[in-house]
């Protein structure tokens, strides 16, 4: 740990927020990757790393996207509003995909920008944030920096967001963060349940804004699930976020967006950083939108590899929550840190701690079949003896 700590201090500027970053890990803090470094530093030199820690698409974006990027080299020196087509064409393309108007779309530098700005726009010292425990940490991370109150509602016994308790907690709240499927537990809520939740919140706390983050939308196979986008377009104070970072395989390109009624997402448009999507990312996202087959293939691939991994872990006596995403939340019966460190020594890097389940559960992203077969071999050796020594890392556990 001391090594990675030093690496952390050397490579960056922020021991200041180190606790938060260490706890949030890669896809939470984007590219900061303190947690990734922790994992990587434990991967012995010469051992091939299998990175299944950040819920990425291991195959990346595909040829159409890469070609589109290369095609934009002549415009690298132009601001995104001067490129051809320019960044507003991406907004238009997203609008067209959903048959909505451009004013129902706000682009973000990854959906993280939208999440951050939602907390800035919709919470106050008096009107706080309601989120799941565990859920994606981006929103509570920002609320904490701002000193705005946070209510974290523990997931139910099936590791689903506990909507019943969240409705109660939402009274007077500024913002509800509803991650569906939920990262890190991978569970999904059906369309009816979500609609019912929203209408109850609308009744009991009409000023509260509901953010439904559908980052993992494209991976869901449960037929009861539907996107909340149509509801968001019909319902004040509700909006949905999507990202190109997951099934689209473009985590490195930083493109996400919000969809909702124009008056709901207006504050997000206002806070949006001007021309925050690079010329390459605009071209990449537009090409990706035009390549629906790529997403279809990625969902199929993920479903297959997910089933394999669940089965393998089950054989080692480890049960996963119902996964509707490209990752698993697995009861490994020991602290995540012990499991993570042991896996890292054999080249397999898995997810960070997710309190309050860091003593028993680990999040494992779904890599390629080849990677998961190798990873399963590592899990087998790691799971055989039960580790007793290592507790959770201090940084990882302390920020909440």
């Amino acid at each position: 740990m001391s090594v990675s700590r030093r690496g952390f201090l050397r490579g960056t500027v922020l021991p200041f927020s180190g606790t938060v970053i260490a706890a949030r890990g890669m896809e939470a803090s984007q590219a900061d990757g303190a947690q990734e470094r922790t994992g990587r530093s434990l991967v012995p030199p010469g051992v091939t790393e299998i990175r299944i820690s950040s819920n990425e698409n291991p195959l990346g974006p595909g040829k159409a996207v890469l070609d589109a990027i290369v095609g934009k080299f002549p415009e690298a020196g132009r601001y995104p509003f001067n490129s051809t087509p320019n960044d507003s064409a991406l907004t238009a393309a997203i609008a067209s995909k959903f048959k909505i108007k451009p004013q129902n779309v706000v682009l973000g530098g990854g959906s993280q920008e939208i999440l951050k700005n939602a907390v800035r726009a919709f919470t106050t010292p008096l009107r706080g944030l309601v989120t799941g425990a565990p859920s994606f940490e981006n929103c509570p991370g920002v609320a904490k920096k701002l000193g705005h109150p946070i209510k974290e509602i523990k997931v139910d016994s099936m590791f689903r967001l506990d909507l019943e308790s969240m409705v109660d907690a939402a009274k007077g709240a500024g913002l509800i963060f509803l991650n569906n499927p939920n990262n890190p537990t991978a569970t999904v809520l059906g369309a009816k349940v979500v609609a019912d939740f929203v209408s109850r919140v609308r009744q009991s706390s009409p000023e509260t804004v509901v953010l439904i983050d559908e980052a993992y939308h494209d991976y869901v196979t449960d037929p009861s699930y539907e996107s909340a986008i149509p509801m968001a377009l019909d319902t004040p104070n509700v909006f949905v976020t999507r990202t190109f970072s997951k099934a689209y395989g473009m985590a490195g390109m930083r493109v996400g967006y919000a969809i909702g009624r124009a008056e709901t997402i207006k504050p997000l448009e206002k806070l949006k950083m001007p021309y925050n999507i690079s010329v390459f990312s605009v071209a990449a996202a537009m090409a990706a939108l035009g390549d629906a087959k790529h997403i279809e293939a990625e969902r199929e691939r993920n479903t297959k590899v997910r089933a394999f991994t669940i089965k393998a872990l089950d054989e080692f006596g480890c049960k996963a929550a119902d996964s509707q995403a490209n990752f698993l939340f697995v009861d490994v019966g020991r602290p995540a840190k012990a499991f993570r460190d042991a896996c890292a020594k054999q080249g397999v890097v898995v997810g960070r701690d997710f309190p309050p389940f860091e003593k028993t559960h680990v999040r494992i992203s779904i890599g390629t079949m080849d990677e998961m077969q190798k990873a399963a071999g590592v899990f087998r050796t790691v799971l055989r003896p039960v580790s007793t020594s290592a507790g959770p890392g201090i940084e990882e556990a302390s920020w909440r």
């Binding site: 500027v13 200041f16 927020s17 590219a31 470094r37 291991p58 020196g77 509003f81 985590a251 930083r254």
Partner: protein, 394 residues
Amino acid sequence: MALTRRGFVQSAGIGAAGAFAHAWIGARGRENALWSAVEPTLQAVESGLIVLASNENPLGPGVRVFNAVKAAFGEGGRAPGRYSNAGRDLIDAIAKKQGVKPENVVLGCGSTQILRSATQLFTAKDKPLVGTIPTYEECAGYAEIIGHPVRSIALDPDFKIDLDKFADAAKGAGLVFLCNPNNPTATYVGARATREYFARVNRESPETTILIDEAYFDYVTDPDHDTHIPIAVENPRIIVARTFSKAYGMAGLRMGYAIGHKDTIKKMADWDGGTGTGSLNVLALHAGIAAIQQDASFTAGERARNQAVRDFTINWFAERGMKATDSQANFMFVNIGRPAKEFRDACRKKGIAVARDFPPFEKTHCRLSFGTMDEMKKAVAVFGEVLGKKAAAA
């Protein structure tokens, strides 16, 4: 085109509510208060258009950078699917180039993010932003969004920053935005005078932070030219902003950075996304590393190229009795003796895009960015046609 325009109206509608919150904003007019949203429509996209509107490097970043971008695709083109750690390497490369420590550097999605973070952190309802009028509008625009006041100071008769007046205005301010060379006027205040300015503000208003935007640093040819980075790393009240969007030719990639005292940088990094990399794309990170690792001949070459184009263009206007300010950047601010809009619209019809209005000089002055020599030769032919005619509407 129709979509762009619709997008524009939509955005304008959103920002307009707060547009008149401050006197300066009012003076700048609705269009400029919202310039980020408006700029796209001024030079809406079409191929064949010569864009002299955004102070870009018309040649782009060069082959080393493109090779780095391709290499960043990784094995099988999979790397863009991953969140990237390369921000650390870029910080290291910048630190090495600028002779500072990594703890003195924070990255931004263009310098835009840097300017916004500084405005967020160092201004307040009772601690205004101080800027010149005109200057680059990002800080003022963001101050407006978050409801913090803006104090604006007129330039001197040569369109340079009047440092005496600017120092008086800094008293009690949260943040001074000092754009040097100043966009859109292209003028530059010398390194010595600027250092004296820092000392005076530090003495008279010790709580005030100064953000010096050196976006056009590499284009300056004035002999009294020096970076303020060495001062910034020592002084928690001084921050230098830099960008890859100008001489490095990477405006489309969105990469900028700030250099300052480690405590100041820490604050900025903490406000917006850890190391500030939340919105930074992996290709831009690798492009930035390749760009900054080039030897000084890259920026020297671009400076020399720009200087030749600048001399050619400024002379062309001078020969026709139109005076430009002393340009130390890759653009010029020239008195064309008629409204910028009229000139702009006429040029646009002939395939040349020039810049937006810059109040309070929008009735007389236009900002022109320098393209390639070839582009400028074509452009002056158009300018000749446009300016030769009597302004019909005037």
